[in-house]
Symmetry: C2
Subunit: 583 residues, 2 copies
């Protein structure tokens, strides 16, 4: 085929390895610079003939220059590269570099990065610079300004918790300990961001400055190392869109093409602060390989080569990424985690081909895709429980266990609500049906007239929490189903509850006769059974197994009637009425 | 990590290449035997140190023996291998071979394969053996037995149309031409199977004989070469399950572990005939890389290595595979097809890294995944239209163009039905809403009372055709919605149509008061607008963009009312009523 441009990558680790796959698929020649002949990336793509991958440090000027002489474009899989050499290579016209060395240099210094983004109007946690060789007094002054606790951070070469030290109190000993831990590196301090969630968005940017973001994910760290990502981000309506918007805006202010990982904090008041940006594929985007229409790796190559950017859409309703970290020098726990994942449907194992394990080293990851958050959660529990440092206290909030009978599921697909506890007896048959079909649901009371704000909040948040349909029961001047339908984009199923007068006709008319524009799916009076069966049919449009379950249920109904036909034949109708119907 | 067994592959083409990716992910060492140092498979995985991939023909005994000496298990990416040597290698205990050499040998001879399967009770097209060096008379005798047309086939080394010759008439010239084309190879004849569709199912089998099938696909050939696969197979209820069952049964009768491609004919009467089996990954399973939870390639490795078989479930509602074939020695058309695919959301390009193109050579493929058949069809048209031999006559039946206004879509997500053409004026607003949201739908008349068989057929087939919900309008003793709901697993939305008496209350009660067990989602009398909006909310549970569209629609309703509020404020109510409401 007409040759594509040759791409040189500084760094041959797992990120480079994951770039080799789309490179092979698209016929893009890759040359890798890293020390060693069998680094993760070098194992999975031969260099274009007659070249060899380069063996040397990706910070070495001579090696970078040699790579540049053989390539049309250089890129990085790690930001801790020699930005000066990259800048010279570009200025001398030896080779194009993407993303721009200027951007790489900016990002290498976390303090400068923060200043730059803050100047551009991107919200960040409060921060301040420390002088070189800071004294206790310097630190005290900053804590007065930023409050406590603060995070002392090295400006450069800090990642995965290295180069960061939290400071909880201002006694001499704590300050000394923190400063000693960080050594003599240039430092700055950040005020504490009391986030409710850590959030990340991958953004791809082409040379014309067009940006496309992926759905936001929740990132879950343990001891400052990323352990789990959940996609898409769940939460109040619009939080995903707001996170994407902020990430796109931030990347819009940088120069050059490629994929960027944007890490953020979601605060209690719903605001979002930017934490930091990585100018390369990022661990919080690994799920995109299976879960999205175009992976972050393919989009990075497309961006730097001026090919059309690929769709960033999710291909599945729910996905997770679980890192496989080394726990010691032994490979056995790695194999055990991978083997466990082979037993979990929807889990895809990615080992990085590293020859040696050590504590906290990224040895691989597992992507999990599922047709719902509840299916994901169930399978995620199995994967997390197989990790060497599995701890129920850590796992339960991420992947909660199934609820006790008669209690709400934490990741429901169906919400059952009613205006009053007096409606409970009418609504209980719906729970029995959902239990029978093994559908995760929640049940609660919210009244259109007595708790209108609670009702509106429930309706507004339902879709963002992963619910797919709402069953609402109400009697008399039954407003609940219609009002909820007005505040959500989900299908709402209304159950007219028979009140003390009018035989339920009042409820039925109040629910079914909605004005044009806001539909409410109404079932028969007091027939919550059918509401649940309708909810299952709705879920069946995206979960094929539920279509089969519905067919099987109908078949069972048919068989029950046929059984009665036979009994009627044998017993005769007089006996049948006496023994069967009068009971 | 604890070393996995080393796998040796006979053949280093694109199937081997696609095996290297899961091998790298799972840490499985692979050694490849094929002629050349840069075959497709050798480009994408280094051999385990200190070995090299083997350079030589995969039919050569000495090379196979050398490979066996370095591996724990041998497998094939092509069935035209030296089965005798593989059998010796296994018998001598030199190396395990999967699938069993016995199975490979059986499959190499299409006539023996057919006899074996037929003996096991697998339905196949009628067939008969021809003597070596057949005369015109021999052929005539067979046409008397099997009828015309027949297909004359070489028993061995026949694929992609090579080694097959159809015979339409029994004149001497035709017979001579066919026999000359096939040369002096051992032949057999097959009676013509007048299929309506060609169908394929991938089946993975482990050493314990456990089999798991993937969803059936429709395979579309042109000049005997596979061009397009559509997954899952659409058609009458149960056809997918029946195809899978037959394929599982056939593979259940073979020996050894691995993935098998089972090609079948779907006949007009709904019966299925087995055509042939490939004992390896197959072109009709390439979509499984993106579209299924475990790819056919990963499952092949899992099966031969006694790892747990992975889930074969589809991860997306709709998928297609389009082969990229060489049209000449020029690479340009290949690049053009790949470049075109980069502009299509959901299209994943797979180039095989072959150095030379030639006519009809498999140079790559494109996988397309989509959230519905209609989205798939629209994008498939773009991909097929970019092929060098694009021909609307061939493309239109596979990926039909959008319908003219007021005509049914060929791949609808919503079906609108009504009992009588007199209901049309009431049901038309539903079409306007669906048009506005760009939802593919069909509209037709079927009556519960006047065309009961048509109604039952419609309801039974709806889910299998890819519909996700049905809107049914009926008046008076309105039976249509409830009866349709009884014959489908889809959610059915009932629109009570107001008849000449009783103000539509008869219709409403007839639709909403369904017995427990069969739900019907009822909307207001004559309110087909809300039926369509409810259908869109139901579709929105699997198509996230429709949730945003619903939110935007609600926002627009709100703005319309706020506009009226303002007008009322400015004009005063007297003028407002006169000018606005009385119009």
């Amino acid at each position: 085929m007409a040759p594509r441009k040759t791409v040189g990558i500084l760094g041959g680790g797992q990120l480079g390895r994951m770039l080799t796959h789309p490179a092979a698929l698209l016929g893009i020649p890759l040359l890798i610079l890293d020390s060693g002949s069998h680094t993760p990336a070098k194992q999975t793509l031969l260099p274009p003939q007659p070249h060899s991958h380069l063996d040397g440090p990706f910070t070495s000027e001579s090696h970078i220059r040699e790579l540049a002489s053989k390539c049309d474009i250089l890129t990085v899989e790690i930001e801790h590269v020699n930005a000066d050499v990259l800048e010279s290579v570009e200025k001398e016209g030896l080779c194009e570099v993407q993303p721009s060395p200027k951007t790489i240099r900016l990002i290498q210094d976390k303090f400068r990065q923060k200043c730059y983004l803050s100047d551009k109007g991107i919200p960040v946690a409060p921060f301040a610079e420390l002088p070189i060789g800071p004294s206790e007094k310097d630190v005290l002054e900053i804590t007065e300004k930023l409050g406590l606790p603060i995070m002392l951070k090295a400006k450069t070469l800090a990642y995965d918790g290295r180069g960061n030290s939290p400071l909880q109190s201002t006694d001499s000993e704590s300050i000394k300990k923190s400063l000693d831990f960080l050594g003599d590196r240039p430092l700055y301090a950040e005020g504490w961001a009391p986030f409710v969630k850590e959030v990340a968005v991958m953004v791809v940017r082409n040379k014309e400055g067009q940006v496309k973001s992926y759905d936001a994910v929740e990132t879950i760290h343990r001891e400052s190392i990323l352990r789990v990502c959940l996609a898409p981000l769940r939460g109040e309506r619009g939080v995903n869109a707001r996170a994407r918007e902020l990430a796109e805006k931030a990347v819009g202010h940088l120069e050059g093409a490629g994929i960027f990982g944007v890490e953020m904090f979601l605060m209690e008041d719903g605001s979002i602060l930017l934490n930091e940006i990585a100018p390369r594929p990022h661990n919080s985007g690994h799920h995109t390989i299976e879960a999205c229409l175009t992976s972050q790796f393919e989009n990075h190559l497309r961006a730097i080569l001026s090919l059309p950017l690929g769709s960033t859409e999710l291909r599945v309703p729910s996905a997770a990424m679980i890192n496989i970290l080394g726990s010691s020098s032994s490979m056995d726990p790695i194999t055990a985690m991978a083997d466990n994942a082979l037993t979990v449907p929807g889990a895809s194992v990615h080992l990085y081909g590293k020859a040696e394990s050590r504590k906290a080293r990224k040895m691989g990851h597992i992507t999990l895709t599922a047709e719902s958050d509840s299916e994901l959660t169930e399978r995620l529990r199995i994967l997390l429980s197989a990790q060497p440092d599995a701890d129920p206290k850590w796992i339960d909030p991420i992947a909660p266990p199934s609820p006790a009978p008669s209690h709400s599921h934490k990741k429901p697909l169906v919400g059952i609500i009613m205006g009053s506890d007096s409606d409970l007896p009418v609504m209980l048959p719906a729970t029995k049906i959902l239990d029978q079909f093994d559908i995760p649901y929640e049940l609660t009371i919210t009244s259109a007239h007595r708790t209108p704000e609670r009702m509106v909040k429930y309706a507004k948040e339902a879709a963002g929490r992963g619910l797919r349909t709402i069953i609402a029961g109400a009697g008399g001047a039954a407003h609940l189903p219609g009002m909820v339908a007005s505040e959500t984009s989900l299908p709402v199923i209304g159950v007219p509850v028979k009140a003390s007068v009018l035989d339920g006709v009042d409820s039925l008319y109040s629910i079914v006769q909605m004005p044009r524009g806001i539909p409410c799916a109404t079932v028969g009076i007091n027939n919550s059974t059918n509401a649940a069966l309708l909810a299952i049919r709705i879920l069946g449009t995206s979960i094929p197994s539920l279509q089969h379950a519905t067919d099987a249920y109908s078949k069972k109904l048919e068989e029950e009637v046929l059984g009665k036909v036979e009994k009627l034949e044998i017993d005769g109708w007089d006996k049948y009425v006496k023994e069967t119907l009068k009971k």
